[in-house]
Symmetry: C2
Subunit: 437 residues, 2 copies
């Protein structure tokens, strides 16, 4: 798919929202740099939008370039940039572009996590690039480092804060002590959460990113449907307070981890809130920032930090991929293909190995601790620390705070169920997994 040396490369843009308009502006304003870096000028040949007539004064291109006919546009380009998002019509347009020999750069985490292999196979069949650095953690270079820089290493774990909205909400709850609902409203007012925050707060967005990270880190196909997903809607002020007492913060983590299940290598891929010690690098990721922590056998611990969303940061990642695709068209070669040779099984959440931090309100009388400890023992869960605090004045209650050793999530979960059924346990005040400790 090599182009004439020096001939301009035709770039089509699908979508012109916040990210698309940043992309278009940068392509125009930094045209000389792009030409020098890519080896050929990058020329916008069209921008597909729903309403081509709408004035867009912030996008410095000839208004005649706007078109509603995306189907046609993708057949007239060397490089197609897809920033529409969602499954359809993005999937059909990307496949059509690949079939017509265009390289595609996408920021579409949902699509790659749902149906990546179909797209990868089409790119390989047509000898073109399909890249999607912007789909995970916005401006932070994370897919290229995992896929290329760590290609000679053995990744053990990837653990990231990959959703800015939920990090903003959890951070604000930690700072203010407020509850979930009012903090989400505040985030919406500040533009950090959408009017319908479901995709973020229920963890769908993070789960798609976890699937993509796990696929690359473990050379295994992992789709969004394989990811165990818990959002932050159940995280209450009591959990945040429990974390603070434990010198931790609560973060929504995307976790991709090698595990052993039934004696075989396997992977656990999950999204859930977890307590993280304040001394851990991920704990200091504030507001809407993102960070990804990687543990590899040889490299040790690595962390990548930056802005996970926004027009310009996402455009930075998109355009890095565009330059790479352009270089390949000018000079030959292609980016890394899908690598799924390891084909590891993805375990159920019950087989994941985690630790729990459990706060119980119990009757304040002799023998209760023994009863509680017996439940842990019955489930084969060993206790790391147990701390007893006085309950509210005038009530016959005490607060028991238990931090477990590592055990299967199934055993930990069964333990909580059994604890809740104890007559001496008045309430399970908070249950949270612990990571990074």
């Amino acid at each position: 798919m090599a182009n004439e040396p020096g001939a301009p490369l035709r770039v089509a843009l699908l979508g012109c929202g916040v990210v698309g308009s940043s992309v278009a502006r940068m392509l125009v304003e930094q045209a000389d740099d792009f030409a020098a870096r890519a080896g050929a000028p990058l020329e916008i040949v069209g921008i597909a939008v729903r309403r081509p007539q709408r004035p867009r004064p912030d996008v410095p291109v000839d208004p005649a370039l706007f078109t509603a006919d995306a189907e046609d546009l993708v057949t007239r380009a060397d490089i197609v940039i897809e920033v529409i998002g969602g499954i359809d019509p993005a999937r059909g347009l990307i496949l059509r572009a690949l079939e017509h020999g265009a390289s595609v750069v996408s920021a579409n985490k949902a699509l790659v996590a749902e149906d990546g292999p179909t797209l990868f196979e089409a790119a390989t069949a047509h000898g073109v690039d399909l890249s999607y650095e912007a789909a995970v953690a916005g401006a932070i270079p994370i897919l290229r480092p995992v896929q290329e820089s760590l290609a000679g290493d053995h990744v053990r774990k990837v653990m990231g804060i990959v959703n800015g909205t939920t990090n903003f909400v959890l951070d604000a709850m930690d700072v203010s002590g407020s509850g979930f609902s009012e903090t989400v409203e505040q985030a919406q007012a500040l533009g950090y959460a959408e009017a319908d925050p479901t995709a973020d707060v229920e963890g769908f967005d993070a789960a798609a990113k976890a699937a993509i990270l796990a696929s690359l880190a473990f050379h295994t196909r992992v789709s969004a449907a394989d990811v165990h997903r818990e959002g932050i809607t159940e995280v209450g002020a009591a959990d945040i307070a429990a974390a603070r007492e434990n010198d931790c913060v609560v973060k929504l983590l995307a976790i991709c981890e090698r595990v052993t299940a039934d004696g075989q290598d396997a992977v656990s891929v999950r999204v859930h809130p977890a307590m993280v010690p304040r001394s851990h690098p991920l704990a200091s990721v504030r507001e809407a920032f993102n960070a990804v922590f990687v543990e590899a056998d040889a490299a040790g611990e690595l962390m990548f930090y930056g802005r996970g969303a926004g027009g310009d940061p996402t455009a930075s990642a998109v355009l890095g991929d565009v330059v790479a695709a352009a270089r390949h068209r000018v000079a030959g070669g292609h980016g890394p293909r899908e690598s799924a040779y390891a084909d590891l099984p993805v375990v159920d959440m019950g087989q994941a190995v985690t630790r729990y931090h459990i706060s119980l309100d119990v009757a304040d009388r002799p023998g209760v601790l023994a009863q509680v400890a017996a439940v842990f023992a019955e489930q084969g869960v060993s206790i790391e620390t147990v701390r007893q605090q006085p309950g509210p004045e005038g009530e016959d209650r005490a607060r028991l705070i238990v931090v477990t050793h590592r055990a299967t999530d199934a055993a930990l979960s069964a333990t909580v169920t059994a604890l809740a059924a104890l007559e001496s346990v008045a309430a399970v005040a908070s249950v949270m997994r612990v990571e990074g400790a």
Copy 2:
């Protein structure tokens, strides 16, 4: 330079010290993964060492593979890994390997910073790869992100802790309050500093890395000789204490920055100790860890963190490059070539724009502050804050602590000289640049 599909690629290793033996071990132990990821088996065909007869039980290869004849070995390989270090004979061997059509992966910061363009031109002329991710910040993927992921962005500044020895020493001085010499001795005893620590503590190692980072970030040839270099040998307990009072830590920074000089775009590339606010992400980089902070127009602030040295971490970076080179030989194409089109001038240190933190011991009498302030005004340096503290009991002294606004380093330096000459200034207790604030 494409090889037969599936045919093994011949890998030659030059050097078998700490890094080389990690590389050899990983190539052998993870041979199946390398074959799957590279698209062909990677077969070690020789390891050049000074004493081939010496037993090396930690390197699981046929002892017959060790050879003293590096000149011959590089002509028999598809990929040559150079982990000898230093300028000669590494330079001659790399050039010879490239001329014989081998791709080269090097961890040699000194050579790339001194004579990179000669090597890059040879690689381009022979259509092969030359890559050196391991040369900067060990295991941290930083060159590939700057060169590829940020290829569509406009990097403004790169600021890194890229030398583990000096970070260990400065961190230990901060924690213990000890002086420079005794801390270096302690670092030597723990294996964090070499017997002759000159290359680290005088900033030569960091300067080479700064040159490499600046070249990639600014698309401009920058060699080690272009880098303004100050080490940490002059950093005393007084500086560390002054930093602590200012809620800062002292770090040895490699700084690559776009500047305007005489109305033209230019770059400043420098290595020097600086006060960094404790709230800055670089301040929390402890012990011998490395981190690189990048500011780009679109991406905003990014940080990359991890282990900057050691056999396995460096081998991780080397082997990422090896897999990339192998993929290119199997599937065609090549890695990014040298990009020096911007060709920006590198300014003298005097033209760099910095801020100073100055602690003065002055006579405790009326009028001294006015005299001091007049010196700043004469040099055109504006003061951000000035703080006066009582001096030692029984002496007629006070301590004046001045933090300046940004000014050229020449003006700031001239100000310090003029202050030292004032009759009312008994001593300049500490002078340190401030970064990240």
